[in-house]
């Protein structure tokens, strides 16, 4: 937690209304703390007080046949995952656990925190991010008003889709008190095809070719030698999920379509496959290194170029690509400016976004964490923030210095 500020327990919506109204009256700003695991995230911006959602517990609705679940904002992700698991279901967007990345414990993220950062794991390219699974929510805005939006049904275009807006808003718009999510059946099984023997650029091209087959890979990553699995060569990893009969048939077809001289194929069985993708989901290959961590989203075909640009201007300690090359995780040697100019100019040349995920408080106080925006967009963003939270009560300065 950012220094020792007062913590208020939020047990229900009335508490949230009271706390936010009181803060508003005083002009104080508030952090919203779920598991509290990720207070190292975002701009370094100490808040006057913390609103803890730890007591905002309870799964309020779960209808497996309807593929829908509602839970209060403070419910631990692990509790939801265990409940779904008992019914052969899951949150298909694979929320990651970055606890270890920040030197905290694993497994303490809350569903409110997961939604607020728009979590998305390796399955993102097929199954979507948190934004694609939030059907509706209840919240208390920075105005101290209780507001609901969306519903519990899959298809709903009644009014603005505020669910998209709160996903990835890092607590800057409202305190989420209850969330309704679409859940999905777990695939019967999975395996991972490893293609070994091509260099980094070739492996990435291979992944893009794999996405253009009808084999429906659910995740595709490029692992430089040493990044994972004790592999001493560059490897392309392709995950296939579904009924066993289909997984095997698609793996065979992929091998036939991708085979070329010099490539070697290996298959990881369900257990090893799960272990690999859990590690990639949590960014383990970079999290384990000492250094500053960036997360970059670009068009898949641009991934390699971006990394080449960065390598030319900054010391890269470790990196890997997910999302068929579109998501890059990088660990750079520590520098006061986190090599922000190098990273941003590499990304700007290709179109995309770079987020500084791990750095010291001093660095996070001076370097933009999120990608800078052009003036018209920045002004609009600020007006959107102020429509929910005109006095900048919630997570002041966490996303952007100006609010």
């Amino acid at each position: 937690m950012q220094s020792a500020c007062a913590t208020l327990e939020i047990r229900d919506e009335a508490d949230a209304v009271d706390a936010i109204c009181a803060a508003k009256a005083k002009g104080d700003c508030c952090a919203i703390v779920g598991g509290g695991s990720k207070s190292g995230l975002g701009r370094y911006a100490p808040q006057a007080q913390a609103l803890s959602t730890a007591a905002l517990t309870g799964v309020t609705l779960y209808e497996p046949n309807e593929l829908v679940l509602s839970a209060r904002g403070g419910v631990p992700l692990s509790e939801i995952e265990a409940l779904l698991d008992r019914h052969g279901q899951q949150l298909a967007f694979e929320p990651m656990d970055y606890g270890p990345l920040f030197g905290a414990e694993a497994g303490c993220a809350t569903i409110g925190g997961v939604i607020s950062v728009n979590a998305a794991g390796p399955r993102r390219i097929n199954a979507g991010a948190a934004r694609d699974h939030l059907l509706g929510f209840r919240c208390v805005t920075g105005r101290g008003e209780l507001v609901k939006s969306g519903g519990r049904v899959m298809k709903n275009v009644t009014g603005y889709d505020l669910s998209k807006l709160v996903c990835g808003s890092y607590g800057t718009l409202a305190l989420l008190t209850e969330l309704t999510l679409k859940v999905l059946p777990k695939p019967q099984t999975e395996c991972t095809l490893l293609a070994i023997g091509a260099d980094e650029a070739e492996s990435l091209a291979l992944l893009r070719r794999a996405t253009a087959t009808p084999c429906e890979p659910s995740s595709l990553a490029m692992l430089p030698a040493g990044a994972a699995l004790a592999l001493d060569a560059d490897a392309a990893a392709i995950r296939l999920e579904g009924p066993a009969i289909s997984v095997t048939a698609r793996r065979d077809e992929l091998v036939a379509r991708l085979a070329s001289g010099g490539l070697r194929f290996e298959t990881l069985d369900e257990y090893d496959s799960k272990t690999l993708w859990r590690g990639l989901r949590d960014a383990a290959p970079v999290a384990a290194k000492v250094g500053q961590i960036w997360r970059i989203s670009v068009a898949p075909s641009e991934g390699f170029t971006v990394v080449e640009h960065i390598r030319a201007g900054a010391p890269v300690l470790a990196h890997f690509y997910d999302w068929a090359g579109g998501l890059i995780w990088l660990c750079l040697e520590t520098a006061p400016d986190a090599y922000a100019a190098v990273v941003r100019s590499a990304v700007d040349a290709s179109g995309g976004h770079a987020t500084l995920i791990r750095a010291s408080e001093e660095t996070r106080a001076t370097v933009d964490i999120f990608h800078p925006q052009p003036a018209a967009l920045a002004a609009l963003t600020r007006r959107v923030k102020e429509s929910f939270d005109p006095a900048h009560i919630l997570e002041r300065g966490r996303m952007r210095a100006e609010f």
């Binding site: 209808e63 046949n65 309807e66 829908v68 052969g88 728009n118 390219i125 979507g128 934004r131 694609d132 008003e145 609901k148 939006s149 519903g151 519990r152 049904v153 298809k155 709903n156 275009v157 009644t158 009014g159 603005y160 889709d161 505020l162 998209k164 807006l165 996903c167 990835g168 808003s169 059946p185 777990k186 893009r208 996405t211 253009a212 009808p214 429906e216 579904g242 009924p243 009969i245 289909s246 048939a249 698609r250 989203s297 670009v298 898949p300 075909s301 641009e302 579109g326 995309g352 976004h353 990608h371 018209a376 967009l377 609009l380 963003t381 007006r383 959107v384 102020e386 429509s387 005109p390």
Partner: protein, 497 residues
């Protein structure tokens, strides 16, 4: 029922000539429509109950022209209604008598197809189906497939968050858009997203999608392309009761199967369809379920077996699985003809669009039956069973005294029923003007005020597509958004309703 729209403002009507002159200076002659007869073509969209003659119609060809029109509208205090192909069923693109109609039909080019990144950049006026057509030779397609896809525009799809048969498995428009260019009221152009996923910052792409033309004008869309599945097979399942059909739908999903399409029709529709163009549907069934499974051959064959087993367990009276592409298409032929078929059993019908939790289907259908009897009207049902999106067709005869009013009343009652069952007012057609006055059934004043404040963040003076979606027109100042300068409020005489 009469629809209250903002009263045309005399101050604007009286400046029409000036507006036309200034638009004329920035647009080619053929992009500006002023005469009565030609303007009449834009009087309404596919929701034909309400009409208005737009003050003037503009059909810009470039983003610069859109920006100039929107800047001029802001400067002259004129309202503006964006329009795609005009297929909206809720009156979203219905024009205003004192507003510019901004037609995007000339933005009809596919700008780039990028197979490597599985996306395409297209202009908003491109037809939905044209995207799939352009990439089909390479084995790709664009997933959201509203039934109107041969006509509707991708810009309109974004504004309405359109969905179709495929959306149970492949998502709605909102799940298939990577980037948007948007011109704001006043003329600023903003770029959101691109070819990459999940830009940090507020998800304004998600907010724009489904915002019904109230927040900005979309001038470019980057859509995701999907690889066409190698095979698709259909199943035709007949049931002795609607409840049994509904149970089977639930059981399929509960078993972990997410079909590419899962549709249902009731007895009235089955019979109408068979009379219109026979395609072999079982006439003894009270409910017909059509299931489509797509993917790799081995998986599809396996799942067809699973679904057949489930259907047997649920007591299906007919179970047929397609063994050829021709047979699959034949299964769908009746479903695709359902709307025209129903128009042969009644002179007029009103197509409603509510969503309910799937498990409440039997209650919803029984409730609709009861409400229809109260009004002395018939209802035929054909709907997206997989996601609980109902499209009751209310049968009436406009030439009969009072039928129109009864049909409208029944439509409203049905939507209220959907909400009372835990559902929502609209699953895919949007609120528009049609369901505007029902918003209070789902939202409190506080909920609605928050949504309207967002509108103010984009369009502080409320000039873009006013009168749609929100039941009362508030001034942004009342919502605590606008700073009143010099004691003067913008739009001092804006009517409230």
């Amino acid at each position: 029922m009469t629809l209250l729209m903002p009263k045309p403002e005399p101050a604007i009507m009286s400046r029409r000539n000036e507006l036309i002159a200034r638009l004329g200076a920035m647009l080619p002659r053929e992009s500006l429509i002023v005469d009565d007869v030609a303007r009449r073509a834009y009087e309404c969209d596919a929701f034909t109950m309400y009409r208005a003659l737009p003050l003037v119609v503009t059909l810009p060809e470039s983003v610069e022209q859109v920006r100039a029109i929107m800047a001029l509208a802001a400067e002259m205090n004129v309202k503006l209604v964006p329009r795609g192909a005009g297929t909206s069923l809720s009156g979203g693109s219905m024009p205003l008598e004192d507003g510019i109609l901004l037609g995007m039909s000339k933005f009809n080019r596919i700008l780039e197809i990028d197979y490597e990144n599985r996306c395409a950049r297209v202009q908003p006026g491109v037809q939905n189906l044209a995207i799939s057509k352009a990439v089909e030779a390479q084995g790709f397609y664009y997933a959201p497939d509203p039934s109107s896809q041969i006509a509707c525009s991708i810009g309109g799809n974004v504004a309405e968050n359109a969905g179709g048969v495929h959306c149970l498995k492949y998502g709605l428009t909102t799940n298939n858009i990577l980037g948007l260019d948007v011109v704001l009221m006043g003329g600023d152009l903003i770029r959101l997203g691109g070819k990459h996923l999940d830009s940090e910052g507020y998800d304004l792409i998600g907010l724009m999608t489904g915002s019904e033309g109230l927040l900005g004008v979309v001038t470019e869309v980057t859509v995701r392309l999907l690889q066409k599945p190698p095979v698709a097979r259909g199943l035709l399942l007949g049931f002795a009761s609607v409840a049994a059909g509904a149970r089977c739908v639930g059981a399929i999903i509960a078993r972990g199967v997410i079909p590419a399409g899962l549709e249902m029709m009731d007895k009235a529709t089955i019979h109408a369809v068979e009379r219109f163009q026979p395609c072999g549907y079982p006439l003894d069934a009270a409910a017909l379920v059509i299931v489509e499974l797509d993917g790799p051959q081995a998986e599809v064959d396996h799942l067809v077996g699973v679904v057949q087993d489930i259907a047997r367990e649920e007591g299906a009276t007919t179970i047929r699985a397609s063994t050829s592409e021709a047979e699959r298409l034949q299964f769908w032929a009746g479903r695709k003809n359902a709307f025209p078929a129903v128009s042969c059993i009644a002179p007029d019908y009103l197509c409603m669009d509510g969503t309910i939790p799937r498990a409440r289907l039997p209650e919803a259908l029984a409730g609709m039956d009861r409400l229809a009897k109260e009004q002395g009207l018939g209802v035929a049902n054909v709907f997206h069973a997989g996601d609980g999106n109902l499209h009751p067709l209310i049968l009436y005869d406009a030439s009969k005294e009072g039928d129109v009013e009864r049909a409208e009343k029944l439509g409203f009652d049905i939507l209220r029923l959907c909400v009372s069952l835990g559902g929502v007012l609209t699953g895919e057609h949007g609120v528009g003007v049609e369901k505007r006055d029902l918003m209070g059934e789902m939202f409190t004043d506080v909920d609605l005020a928050q949504q309207m404040r967002l509108k103010c963040a984009f369009d502080p003076e409320g000039r873009l597509n006013p009168g749609k979606v929100f039941p009362t027109l508030h001034r942004c100042a009342e919502l605590g958004m606008m700073h009143v300068s010099g004691g003067k409020m913008p739009f001092p005489d804006l009517p409230r309703f």
